[in-house]
Structures are given as C-alpha cells and as structure tokens.
C-alpha cells in the first residue's frame, strides 16, 4: 500500500488529490494506494474573494464550502491540525494525538498572516486577508469622508502580489463615484524601487497610478505605526501621516514546518523550481504558498503546480518514469489584475517569460468576476 498524504485543503492540495485519484484509480480500487488530505478545518476557502468583501459587495459565507464536497469520493479527508512531521518515522502528527503514516508527502499548507509582528497593526491598520478584516475595512471606507489613505506592504512575500495595487485603484474609483476624491489623498507605498516586483507590470501600473493621482512611494518597507501621531514609519526612515491605513500584513509559512526541521526562518519550504521536491527529498513535495519559489503566492501558482506533483507521485506509485511534458514545473502563473473603472488586465508568465499585460479593458475585469463565480466547479475538480 502506497500512502499519499497531502497536508492542506486549499487550491493546491485539493486539486493535487483529485488529479492523483484520477491517475491512481485502479491502484486505489485494488487497495494498493490511498490518498489522504489533512485539513485543519475541513473547509475550502476561496481567498481571492476576500478583497471583494471590502471592495465589491462579496459575502464571506459565499467564499467557503466543505472540503469534502470538492474532493473525489476516493480521497480520504482527515480534519485536524498538524503539529509535526516525524520524517524518521514517515508520519504526520496531529495536535489531537493521531498519527498518519505516509510514503509520499505533499505540503500544501499555505501561508498565514502575522500582523502581530508589527506593533499596533491590529488596532490601527486595515487589511483584506481574512473576511473579518475585509469587512472591517469595508465599514471604515463607508465611514470615510475624505482625508489621507495610505496603502502599504508590511512584509514580503505576501499573498496575491497585485492585490494592494488593485485596492488602490478600486478605492480611487469608489471615491470618485462618491464625490470624495477631491477631498482625499491616496498614497501607495512599495517596498522596492518601483510599483511592482515584475518590471513589465510595474511599467503598466506606474502610469495608471500617476493618471489617478495616487502618489507612489518607493523603498518604503513598513516598520512601525505610531497611533498617537497617526503616522506609519518605514525601515528607510520615512514617515507618512494617515487617516485610513491599509497594510498587507507580514506573512509566514506554517509553524509546524519550522518545528519539524523542513523549513527555516519565515517558514517557506526550500523547493526545487521544476520537480517541486523539498530539500532534495525524493518523496516530499511542496506547492502553493508554502514554497520558497520566486513566484506569486497565489492560487493560480498552486493550480499549475498540482499536475506536476500528481504526475510525479503517480509515476512513483506505478513504478514508471514521469511524463516529462507534465512533470516539470515551468513557473507558469496566470492571474487577473483589476485597475479600477470596471477594467482589468491579465498577467501570464513563467520562469523564463515575464508577463506582457494587455491594455486594460472591461473584458478582463468581467473575466475575473466570472472566474470567481465559477471557481468551485472548475479549478479544485481539475476541469481547467
């Protein structure tokens, strides 16, 4: 019996499980293989929807479905919190005392936000990285009647790199609709020397920031918040006053990965760019936000990584060579990018080809909305 254990029921873990049972149906039916997903809550959350709670009337309950409903019936689902991986014993230990043995392990444990790493973050700063915070931001925007809005990034890497720029563009649009733009200043703080990490996207976004009169502050790595003076300070020594502060919180990988010796520092797994194996281990893979790959932490990345992991593991279980056309990740990522005014664009890239975003238009904005609505029937089930 080959035991494949996948930790995490997000995009990557769910899709990898469903693709694996498609490839290993015969072995599973003969009890020669089994695929298990371990998820902390047994819920699948569509995280890209959080931003739309703040910016687009989305409701939190529409963004969650039972993980079981998205998994093929041949996949075993275990609900529990992973506390440690015992590599010597090839088993996953859960906080409730259960042990789950593995022969092949997939780490799809995502990323987590740690706003507490910046003093006063929770009291002073808004964000949109969970439904509660996104709703609180929505309420703050509803109360906003003009003033200085500062949007910044309090740690890299973070989930969905375009999101803070999208929020800046969407807030600009909303303030103009509400006739508040003349009474407002918008400031966008980038941790690096330009508006966005990828140069071609930065070249697209910078003129849009200028056109919308959103002031760009480069090399602004958020370090401190002074609630008495209502200023946010950067590591570089600058300060910006705010009336409404919106910050991407710092992110970390799962703590159990550090505790188990698989990851160090911030918790990102050392992952092979093409095989997705972790630290040279032949039977441990990572995908999605959990990796240290130089790519967007986004569902799309996990979506394109899952077939690689599924093919490699299926080949091992079946004692064959993996299909080289499927089994090597090329760094493929594809995501929509809102620019406000009902327009969007599309970022498509891989390790060797930076994105060439098309001129923003209504089609890509609508494409993003349609994708968000149809997600449940497509991505986790391996239909796209």
């Amino acid at each position: 019996m080959q035991r494949v254990v996948i930790i995490g029921g997000g995009v990557g873990g769910t899709l990898a499980a469903n693709l694996l049972v498609r490839k290993l149906r015969r072995e599973i039916d003969r009890h020669e293989a089994m695929v298990t997903v371990i998820d902390a809550k047994g819920e699948h959350v569509y995280q890209p929807g959080f931003m739309y709670i703040a910016m687009g009337g989305e409701r939190a309950e529409k963004l969650v479905r039972p993980e079981r409903s998205l998994l093929d019936r041949r996949v075993t689902l275990e609900v529990g919190t992973v506390s440690r991986i015992d590599e010597a014993a090839s088993r996953v230990e859960l906080a409730d005392g259960r042990h789950i043995g593995y022969d092949q392990l997939v780490l799809a444990s995502g990323s987590r936000i740690v706003p507490e790493e910046i003093e006063h973050f929770d009291a002073e700063a808004h964000h949109f990285y969970n439904p509660t915070a996104a709703l609180r931001l929505r309420e703050a925007l509803d109360r906003f009647e003009g003033g200085r809005i500062v949007i910044g990034i309090a740690g890299m890497p973070y989930k969905c790199p375009p999101a803070p720029l999208e929020v800046a563009f969407l807030i600009d649009h909303e303030l103009r609709e509400r006739l508040l733009r003349d009474k407002s200043e918008l400031h966008y703080c980038s941790p690096i020397g330009r508006a966005f990490t990828i140069e071609s996207v930065s070249e697209m976004a910078t003129p849009i920031l200028a056109e919308k009169e959103i002031e760009l502050h480069t090399f602004f790595n958020v370090e401190s918040i002074d609630p008495a003076r209502k200023v946010v300070g950067s590591l570089e020594g600058e300060e910006l006053a705010y009336d409404l502060l919106i910050l991407v919180p710092p992110h970390r990988g799962a703590q159990f990965l550090v505790d188990s010796g698989l990851a160090t520092g911030a918790g990102w797994l050392p992952t092979d760019h093409h095989t997705l194996q972790v630290g040279g281990r032949p039977n441990v893979y990572a995908l999605g936000d959990a990796t240290d790959l130089p790519l967007s932490k986004a569902g799309s990345t996990a979506h394109f990584e899952a077939p690689v992991v599924a093919e490699r593991i299926a080949a091992t279980v079946q004692g064959r060579e993996p299909d080289p056309k499927i089994a090597n990740y090329t760094g493929r990522v594809m995501c929509f990018f809102e620019v406000g005014d009902g327009k969007g664009t599309l970022l498509r890239f891989d390790y060797d080809h930076p994105p060439q975003p098309p001129k923003p238009n209504r089609l890509w904005h609508l494409g993003k909305l349609v994708f968000n609505k149809t997600y449940w029937h497509t991505v986790p089930r391996g239909r796209v």
Partner: protein, 81 residues
C-alpha cells in the same frame, strides 16, 4: 574591494533568488543586525545589482563596494543606523 580591515559580520547568499529576493534578504539582515555591522550579499540577479545600491542610499546605510565575481556580484554594506 573587501579587505582584511573590513570584518564581515554576516554573509547573505541570495544567489538562487530573483529580484526582489536579494534586496529582501539584505533588508532582513539589516533589521536583525546592529549599527556598524558589515553585511555581504551574494546575488546573481541583474535587477538587484542596481536596486540594492539605490535602497542602501535611501535607507541611509553605506555601500562599501560591489565586486563582480564568477557569475554573481558581491555587494558589501555597512549598517549605519
């Protein structure tokens, strides 16, 4: 460029990292270090070669030097504040 009179406090090997990875690694080292520390960043990323010196200037630290090595650059920085 780097002499024996410049004791290195920490070396950050960011050669497998792409922009802005090397800069973010340097920022982490600066955050964790003390004033006077000398940090060496090894980077094979072209964008970082220009971004890192710009960041050092803006952040008020001192660029001791950038030395091309075999397929990568050695960027030496002193934490000044």
């Amino acid at each position: 460029m780097l002499t024996l009179e410049t004791p290195v406090t920490r070396t950050v090997d960011a050669r497998s990292s792409y922009c802005p990875g090397p800069l973010m690694e340097l920022i982490r080292a600066i955050r964790e270090g003390s004033v006077g520390d000398v940090i060496v960043v090894l980077s094979s990323d072209n964008g970082s070669k220009s971004d890192i010196p710009k960041w050092i200037e803006k952040a008020g630290h001192r660029l001791i030097g950038v030395t091309p090595r075999d397929g990568y650059d050695e960027i030496v920085v002193e934490k000044r504040r």
